[in-house]
């Protein structure tokens, strides 16, 4: 059955599929190397007004900083294909990282869409939280306000909630939501 094919790989409560990718500094990033730490995946495209809203308000950077202080690994996954105007070359990405003061463990150059398709990332932003044992515990929207023009600090942030619950040893209150945003600009 073709309909359910790619949805099967990623499932809450199951091991998050491992991947090996290259970041914008040319370094190899392997998900399973981060076992023992909480990992957040962010599907990213700052030209998307939904993503951009989180960065231009500074709310995302605050969240990232907060997560970094808690020892959380934050991986940005940019799956925009090279022919799209929103694509970033490694140099442009480094510049953007600095300009926007983004705090991330790594920015994965996924212009081939491999990681995006593996996780069935639909939108930017589409967020994933993986616990210390490599189990996927959250998949979906970053918060409960699908609006490109709000202050994200006033919304219920599902990623923060999931990480806080993990740190407190409690079950993640909301494990799955419908991601909102712009479509990921995959190569055809």
């Amino acid at each position: 059955m073709t309909l359910a094919a790619n949805a099967l790989a990623v499932e809450i409560g199951k091991s998050a599929p491992d991947f090996t990718a290259t970041d914008i500094n040319g370094k190899t990033v392997k998900l399973n190397d981060y076992k023992g730490k909480i990992v957040v995946l962010e599907s990213y495209n700052s030209d998307c007004p939904f993503c951009n809203n989180h960065y231009k308000t500074g709310a995302m950077q605050e969240l990232e900083k907060d997560m970094a202080a808690k020892g959380v690994v934050w991986l940005i996954v940019n799956s925009v294909n090279p022919n799209n105007p929103s694509h970033r070359t490694p140099d442009q990405a480094k510049q953007e990282l600095a300009d926007k003061k983004i705090v991330a463990t790594a920015w994965i150059d996924d212009s081939s869409g491999t990681v995006g398709h593996l996780y069935d990332m639909k939108t930017t932003p589409d967020m994933y939280v993986i616990d210390k044992n490599g189990v996927l515990v959250y998949d979906g929207a970053i918060d409960n306000k699908p609006d490109p023009q709000h202050d994200p600090r006033t919304a219920r942030n599902y990623v923060r909630e999931a990480v806080d619950a993990l740190m407190a040893g409690k079950p993640v209150p909301v494990a799955q939501t419908k991601p909102y945003g712009c479509s990921v600009k995959y190569a055809n």
């Binding site: 059955m1 073709t2 309909l3 359910a4 949805a7 099967l8 499932e11 809450i12 199951k14 030209d47 998307c48 007004p49 939904f50 951009n52 231009k56 799209n84 105007p85 929103s86 398709h117 639909k122 939108t123 979906g140 699908p146 609006d147 490109p148 023009q149 909301v174 494990a175 799955q176 939501t177 419908k178 991601p179 909102y180 945003g181 712009c182 479509s183 990921v184 600009k185 995959y186 055809n188």
Partner: protein
């Protein structure tokens, strides 16, 4: 006019530089269906969004990405805005992130209700419209729009009325004359689950419809019905397709809503539906109302009271099904015995009998609920798949027969030695209760008309509904007796009590003995040739019963010795025959035979049923007859003898080059339970005829067959 659209008018290209603040690619304006309207009128206000080529805005459910357009009204007092009426959107690529939206232009319609006491004069209508426009990138846009409406003494259409009317035609209508059903195809796999949506046009057909159908769901936070679509079959239903539902939170949805879209290009149309999601995928029978399958189709959204009524009628009919008849004999005897008692006593016994049946049905329901809770499949009559149960019941029924023959007397309730003695002992309260239990136990291998529909429904429900449905069957089963016991006058046709009763009682022992033989035959299926030892055990039990009756109950001396001998016989017979020889608790596994299951040399050449065999036979272009049956299912056996395993059907199968498949449900194989569930049945019989045309749906035959029904279905299948 908003800054965004003005900007677009000036120079779209330069606007790219400031795209986050302004909508560069969409013009927006507010138009009205009327320039002048009367107080109390409803005017259609419309937000007209014009997108540049390749840019689009979104529907109320944007799909996997995007954002629905929003309208915030600023209206003078006395004017209230209704919901947005959304014209039919398009599915927008890419396939992996499908969205629903509009290319080029869309007119969103909003009814504005004018209060009846509105004063004449001009009204200023304002709204802030915000949207997301996308091409390769997405840009949030917004614009403030306003227009004037004159309130006067007559209604005058505006210059835009025709445009608005044309867009009104694109708004989905209500689903008149369409029968649409939705149901889960399979259990969930993780957080996704396939759903089947099927529908048919039930009115007179006006024109040729396109075969392009789709379902655009309403937005929902808890689940998403994904845009990808797979056509299943459009042979009997107008459309039938599969979608994947992805769940985010909560239970699997019980109801879905959205728009069924048909056709392509300019001839597209849509209608709104709100569908109850049933636990089974819709079949042609549930979609095509009034299909001639020999059975009234039961829409799965049938209300509970109707199902309870079916259960009640099914219970009533159970009384005359072959498996319950021996118990009827017992009951008739009971009434005759009691007709000399005072009416209050008769009523009491009627109620106790009813209690016995209802308690048994409640116990059955509890077993079903327990089996379901343990994650197994439950079915009607499933206790007969247990050889241990069959051995116990065979022994019990043999004892009941011996009891009727007068070999010994039942001591239920300790009334055997009562001075009244005789028949009263067997028709006291305990006897009546026991009759109720026995009636229920013997009723389970039968299903009656109505009952299979009701049970098919019941087995898929939650615990309280299962219990309620079972009790309804029980109430149906006891209703005639309770009514009779309340009106003993109706029993006047029976002769006066007398010596004939003793003879009648003995005569009734024979149907009971026949029941024992039938049960014995069931046990043979589990134990093979060793079933001989069950027979030996029954003889020993009968002998012990006689010693007990003759020398303990009716004897004068050495009662103790007789009792000891009876007990030694029982225990010895059990230990040797059942434990040592029969090994009754570990029946031999039935060999998994393959190939022909022919009953006799000139019988139908049955092959073992499995889904692959059906698929293969259909792929090869054969019609297929499938008989789901079980040794313990009397209805099935009767069907087979009268209507299936007969020369005319055999000849018909040969002439049509049809394949006959036998699904043996005696031991409750899971794959057959699943197949029965697919047809909303809780048990056998289920007889299906698959048409030669591999895409057509199977014909479901009724529970009780006649040769005519089978032959007609086969003829239909060959077409």
């Amino acid at each position: 006019m908003g800054t965004g659209s003005r900007c677009a008018l000036l120079a779209g290209f330069f606007c790219l530089a400031v795209f986050t603040a302004h909508a560069a690619h969409t013009q927006v304006r507010l138009i009205l269906s009327a320039s002048t309207a009367r107080p109390g009128d409803t005017v259609l206000a419309s937000v007209d969004l014009k997108m540049e080529p390749d840019w689009h805005t979104y529907w109320k459910n944007p799909g996997a990405a995007g954002l629905a357009t929003k309208i915030e009204w600023q209206l003078p007092p006395g004017v209230t805005a209704g919901e947005i009426q959304w014209p039919l959107p398009e599915k927008l690529p890419p396939a992996e992130v499908t969205t629903y939206g509009y290319d080029d232009e869309v007119v969103l319609l909003v009814p504005l209700k004018l209060a009846p006491d509105l004063k004449p004069g001009p009204l200023d209508l304002k709204a802030k419209v915000s949207w997301l426009e996308c091409k390769e990138a997405c840009i949030p846009g917004s614009g403030s729009v306003e227009t004037m409406l004159n309130v006067g003494t007559e209604t005058k259409p505006s210059a835009d009325a025709a445009l608005i009317e044309s867009w009104q035609g694109k708004v989905p209508k209500s689903a008149e004359n369409w029968s649409v059903r939705a149901g889960w195809e399979k259990p969930a796999s993780g957080d996704t689950r396939p759903i089947i949506i099927a529908g048919s046009y039930v009115g007179a057909m006006a024109a040729e419809w396109s075969d392009k159908f789709d379902f655009f769901p309403d937005a929902n936070d808890d689940f998403e019905i994904q845009a990808a679509i797979e056509k299943v079959s459009d042979t009997n239903s107008f459309f039938c397709f599969r979608k994947i539902v992805k769940k985010y939170s909560g239970d699997w949805p019980k109801e879905i809503s959205g728009v069924i879209v048909a056709g392509t290009g300019n001839s597209r149309f849509g209608f709104e539906v709100k569908l109850t999601v049933s636990e089974q995928a819709p079949t042609d029978e549930t979609v095509l109302l009034g299909s001639n399958t020999g059975e009234t189709p039961v829409p799965l959204s049938q209300p509970l009271w109707q199902m309870l009524l079916y259960a009640f009628i099914g219970g009533l009919i159970l009384n005359i099904m072959p498996c319950v008849l021996p118990v009827i004999a017992l009951k008739i005897l009971g009434f005759v015995g009691e007709s000399r008692s005072d009416p209050r006593h008769v009523r009491k016994l009627g109620l106790v009998y009813a209690l016995g049946v209802l308690v048994s049905f409640a116990a059955l329901a509890a077993v079903v609920i327990g089996v379901k809770a343990a994650g197994h499949k439950a079915g009607w009559g499933m206790q007969f798949s247990s050889p241990v149960f069959v051995v116990c019941l065979t022994t019990l029924v043999t004892l009941v027969a011996l009891n009727l023959f007068g070999v010994f007397e039942v001591t239920l309730g300790g009334r055997a030695l009562d001075a009244a003695g005789g028949l009263a002992s067997k028709h006291g309260a305990a006897g009546a209760f026991f009759n109720g239990v026995l009636a229920t136990v013997l009723a389970t291998p039968c299903t009656a008309p109505f009952l299979s529909i009701a049970l098919g429904f019941a087995f898929a429900q939650k615990a309280p509904v299962i219990l309620l449905m079972f009790l309804a069957v029980g109430v149906g089963l006891v209703a005639p007796y309770v009514v009779l016991s309340w009106n003993p006058a109706w029993l006047k046709f029976l002769p006066k009590p007398g010596a004939w009763m003793e003879k009648f009682k003995i005569a009734m022992g024979f149907p009971m003995l026949a029941t024992a033989v039938w049960l014995f035959n069931l046990a043979a299926g589990s134990y093979g040739k060793s079933v001989l030892w069950l027979g030996v055990f029954l003889v020993v039990v009968a002998f012990a019963a006689w010693i007990f009756g003759e020398f303990v109950q009716r004897g004068r001396a050495r009662k103790g010795l007789a009792l000891v001998i009876a007990l030694i016989l029982l225990v010895g017979g059990y230990a040797f025959a059942l434990e040592n020889q029969l090994r009754w608790r570990e029946p031999v596994k039935e060999a998994d035979a393959t190939g022909s299951l022919k009953e006799s040399a000139d019988g139908i050449d049955w092959q073992r049923w499995n889904p692959e065999a059906v698929a293969k036979a259909r792929a090869d272009g054969h019609p297929v007859l499938v008989d789901f049956t079980a040794d313990w299912c009397l209805t099935c056996q009767v069907n087979k003898k009268t209507s299936i395993e007969i020369p005319s059907v055999h000849a018909k199968l040969k002439s049509l080059n049809a394949i006959a498949l036998l699904g043996d449900y005696t031991r409750f194989p899971d794959n057959i339970t699943a197949e029965l569930n697919r047809f909303n049945r809780a048990g056998v019989p289920l007889v299906l005829v698959y048409p030669k045309d591999a895409a057509a749906s199977p014909i479901v035959l009724p529970e009780i067959l006649t040769p005519g029904i089978v032959l007609a279905a086969l003829d239909r299948a060959a077409r």
